[in-house]
Symmetry: C2
């Protein structure tokens, strides 16, 4: 065995008991790559043991996706399974929980026609939007967790045998997900308490903006009016407290879509749809990313930013200390769920409506009026390092340190 | 390799080119057990090569199903994925084609609580009904094809090694599906022409009823008013001629739900949801199956018949010569798609609205008025053998032979 079955089972338990806190009788809609079936099966067991109503898994298959790129007519790439996504939205409106297993080969689409990749992604994002809004709006409890597929493992550990690579990635996932600990559920309770301490402090301060300085970076990120910092456990509108990301190390909130100015340098490569975007550099004016360059794949990312009106504006700002366990592992995971938790980051696109005071009751119009951004994309990119200082700026212009050298200043 | 990859690829081609006749730009919704992934992938390739819009596969997983039976609360078994089925119905209304790969372990649910099995099946049938009506009503082109999964193969060939059993079942599937022939597509054209000759004769005769005699059987099956015999290729309402079943040997039509009388003996065991129902005996009065016995699992089948009002009435009557290739193989497949094509059969439950003259334009009410039955079940059972004689009975009471000793009389 390359994947420790006891820890895999603990990961499934954490997904159900911590990630979702699945309620008695609640249905579960799961999505997963076929190669993640061993984790899907353990999660299905734990879901039913926790009293799940019905567990339904929608599998994706890399080979089928590649067959499309190899054989399909051009017109195919403007299509998406809208019927499936509207079905999912219906399930969420009926209070089904949602669990996504990530583990796809991050380089699956490398080498495919970028125009087809972009069009397929746009069609998919548009079709998925109604379901995604119920997730990002926390109408229901949801969770993302990872499985160490072979293709992903070989990308992260290219010099190891398949078996060794999977073992190493599995161990990294288990450690970051705290299932290497004696009592993972207790460990998550403690971790959530630490994150809460951080976001409570930030909410008490109610900064108007954050000011980032460091190599290649002098950026002011205005925060949305009535923004609220969150992190770790989060109460959904259905009354269930879930941990959307396993692992998670960030505290995050919504920036103001019109109040981001200055320049900023990416500090880690961004893996996006099979392409690695490296040495990113961006300049913002009035909230809009007006200039973007990268040493590699800059054109591709510019195309992605132009997906829609909101693609060049920010939907999330997140703080992660440089010493966080995922950062300390030194591994580039090529997977946002992991890489974003290794570093302070910002996200282009859709904001989380729940990151507002009273967010659960706000309309889309109110959220927009307070500075919340709307887009079919939500793409995190990493701007933190041990050389970044961050100041909180009050409405009256006074400042106080938030991070120094990539660590919490207090 | 236990499964010949060239023949598997030909099977995929037959599914797309003969089974569906998939149109340029048409979407495809496929369902399959996970263990049938090798065939799903070949079909996906052929679909895109034929110009498919988007191919979406919904996989089922035996292990997940069994986890439900092992761990779920009782209340779970009254649930179904209605959101998924209503999504499928939406896809069909938007002209997506539908392909089902059969290959599940027929004994998967053997040993599970029959009450849970029945409740789960009923909940699923009710939720699936809107999508199923679009399929059985031929709103769109559809097809069922089989893949030789290991679990199924070991049931059919219990005394062989897994590898030998799969090889044998694969060869039987390939032969019955005519992909062992040099040009399977031409072979299907010839076979369809032969079936057409049979149903054209039956339609010209326009019998009022069929009269079956044989060991344990003296049954009159009234045919629906304005019934139409069909078989093999079938034109769907979207204008595409499809071959719904690969393989198929039957010609079939709709009996009158109120005009079935007499007694009939099953001639092959019926595999239903993990149970084998053996030596079936039924008595009909006024269209209703009023008395049912079996040497094994009769109680279970009686429960299934009571699913709803239409469960004890007939929805299909089908003629298959005893010398048909599947019958000649002598194999009991434990799979209706195969076993029904080895023998004359009748089906309890839902009728095919397309088996009426002008059926594409008839309302549910009209179909019912002409004798078409409605139910959430459609279960074929086998009543043919080399000892069965069938007479066609005209409205004036005169008769002429249709089958003698299980073969066409002319």
């Amino acid at each position: 065995m390359t994947i420790d079955p006891v820890k895999l089972d603990k990961l499934a338990q954490v997904a159900i008991k911590v990630g979702l806190q699945l309620a008695e009788g609640q249905d579960l809609v799961m999505t997963a790559p076929m190669s993640a079936a061993p984790l899907v099966r353990r999660i299905t067991e734990h879901a039913y043991q926790a009293g799940a109503g019905l567990v339904t898994t929608i599998y994706s298959d890399e080979e089928a996706t590649l067959a499309r790129y190899k054989h399909a007519n051009s017109a195919s790439f403007d299509k998406a399974a809208g019927w499936l996504y509207s079905g999912m939205a219906e399930a969420f409106r009926n209070n089904a929980a949602r669990l996504a297993i990530s583990g796809d080969n991050p380089m699956m689409l490398a080498g495919q026609d970028p125009d087809k990749v972009t069009r397929a992604m746009r069609a998919n994002s548009a079709a998925y939007k109604p379901a995604l809004q119920l997730i990002t709006g926390f109408d229901i409890n949801w969770n993302i967790v990872s499985y160490p597929t072979t293709a992903w493992a070989k990308l992260v550990f290219p010099n190891d045998s398949e078996e060794d690579a999977v073992t190493k990635l599995a161990d990294a996932i288990f450690k970051a997900s705290r299932v290497d600990q004696e009592d993972p559920i207790a460990a998550w309770a403690e971790h959530n308490a630490n994150l809460k301490k951080r976001w409570t402090w930030l909410n008490d301060k109610s900064f108007a903006s954050l000011h980032y300085t460091g190599p290649g970076t002098d950026l002011t990120v205005g925060l949305a009016d009535g923004h609220r910092w969150k992190g770790g456990a989060s109460e959904a509108k259905n009354g269930i407290t879930c941990n959307p990301n396993i692992p998670t190390e960030e505290v995050f909130t919504t920036p103001h879509k019109l109040r981001v100015d200055g320049y900023v340098a990416g500090t880690k490569p961004l893996s996006h749809n099979g392409a690695l975007i490296e040495e990113m550099q961006a300049r913002f004016e009035g909230g809009k990313l007006v200039e973007f360059k990268a040493a590699k794949n800059g054109d591709l990312f510019n195309t992605v930013l132009d997906t829609d009106e909101g693609g060049r504006r920010l939907g999330e700002v997140a703080l992660v200390p440089h010493s966080s366990p995922i950062s300390a592992s030194g591994i580039l995971f090529f997977n946002t769920l992991y890489d974003e938790n290794a570093s302070c980051h910002i996200a282009q696109g859709q904001c989380y409506s729940d990151c507002f005071v009273g967010g659960k009751g706000l309309s889309q119009e109110q959220i927009s009026a307070q500075g919340g951004n709307t887009s079919n994309i939500h793409i995190d990119w990493m701007i933190g390092s041990d050389k970044i200082n961050i100041d909180g700026v009050h409405a009256d212009g006074t400042t106080e340190p938030v991070m120094r050298g990539g660590e919490w200043a207090n």
